[in-house]
Every structure is written in structure tokens, then in C-alpha cells.
């Protein structure tokens, strides 16, 4: 086989393979887009996304509640201390 034939065959094959691949790639892209659309309208997926959002919201609420609980515990401890001092003072006053 001479060099010219080889080059021509190589060019033709390259163009052919590029064409085949372009076609196959376009088909794959269309399929992927369809699958994506299907997923975005799928009830199960929507429900799952909804659940995920709810879990995130609940997690946030739980963290805030924990903070509030800690603050309340601190306040209660402070009030208990104050209360015990006041009782002692009342006792002293009563004795006098």
C-alpha cells in the first residue's frame, strides 16, 4: 500500500470515526437530558427533596432549641442561687 492511499484512508477513517462519535455523543446527551427531566418531574424524587428540606429545617430548629435550653438552664441556676440567698436573708430578718 503506498503512502498516499494510507493517508487518504487515515483521513477518511478519522472523519468517519468523528462522525460516528458525534452521533453517539448527541444520542447520549439527549438521553441524559431526558433522564434529568424525568427525575425533576418524578414524584418520588420531589418527595425525597421535600423530606431533605424538612430534615434540614428540623436540624436547624433542634440546634436553636438546644441553645435556648442551655440559656434557660443558666438562668434557672442563677435564680436558684439568688433564691437561696434571699431565703437566708429572710431567715436572718425573722430572727431579728
Amino acid at each position: 500500500m503506498d503512502n498516499n492511499t494510507q493517508i487518504i484512508l487515515a483521513v477518511v477513517t478519522l472523519l468517519g470515526s468523528a462522525g460516528i462519535w458525534k452521533y453517539a455523543e448527541a444520542r447520549l446527551r439527549v438521553k441524559a437530558e431526558l433522564r434529568k427531566e424525568e427525575q425533576s418531574t418524578n414524584d418520588t424524587v420531589l418527595y425525597r427533596d421535600d423530606l431533605r428540606n424538612r430534615v434540614e429545617e428540623m436540624d436547624k430548629a433542634l440546634k436553636e432549641a438546644n441553645k435556648e435550653l442551655l440559656a434557660l438552664t443558666q438562668k434557672v441556676a442563677k435564680l436558684e442561687t439568688e433564691n437561696s440567698f434571699l431565703r437566708r436573708e429572710i431567715d436572718i430578718l425573722k430572727r431579728n
Binding site: M1, N3, T5, Q6, I7, L9, A10, V12, T13, L14, G16, S17, A18, I20, W21, A24, E25, L28, R29, A32, R35, K36
Partner: protein, 140 residues
Amino acid sequence: MEQLKVKAQEIKARLKARFNALRDIWQYSDSQPTEITLAVALIFLYPTATYLELGYSPIMDVLGPMAGVYQLYCVSGKCLSCRVRASFITFSFYLLATVMYLYCGMLFSSPTYLGWLVLCFSSFGSLKRIKKEELHRKNG
């Protein structure tokens, strides 16, 4: 008779499940081992076979192994777009060999026989798999 029918349906269902599993593996499994095999074949087997059967061809005997090395480089780099490019080049080279053998009338008579078609098919399958993976990663 009824039992035979049920059994035949069972066998049919089992075969269908196996066929679907094979199709899924072919379409979605990891293709790195196939890519490495194709690249190694492109580096060693491709120039040797084409040189012995078709004679010296600079395009196939010099550029072919270089494409194989590039494929190995891309697989080791774990870059998907690079792997797609390299797989396309590999597929082009195997297709070129098939066309050359067909042109010389040796596709059905040479020692390598239909092996080039198998390699073409395999490299195209590998190329499609990587592209699918790339699209899947992009679309999430």
C-alpha cells in the same frame, strides 16, 4: 404440559435478568481495566500485527503506540475529559486498522482475523461508558 410452560417461562425470565445484568455491566461498569488493556494492545500488539501483515505504515506503527501511551497517561491522570479524548483516538486507530485490513482484503483471511472488529467494538463501548460517566457527573 402446564408445568413445562411454567418452567420455560422461569428460564426465560432468568435469562432475561442475566442479559439485563450483562447489559448494565457493559454500559456502566468501571472501564479503566478495559482502557489499559486497549492501550497496551495499541502499544505492543497493534504495530507488530500491522507491520507483519500489512507492511510498514508510519501512521499505524508510529502514531498508534503514541496514542496508546497517551491513553495510559490519561487513565493514570484520572481526568475524565482527557480519557474521553484518548479513548476517541484509540477507537479511531482501531477503526483505521479495520478499514486498512478491509481495504487490503485481509480482514477475513489474516491471522488476526476479526480481532480488529472486536477491538473496535470494545474501544467504542469504553468510549461511550466514559462519556456517560462524564454526563452523569455533570448532571448530578
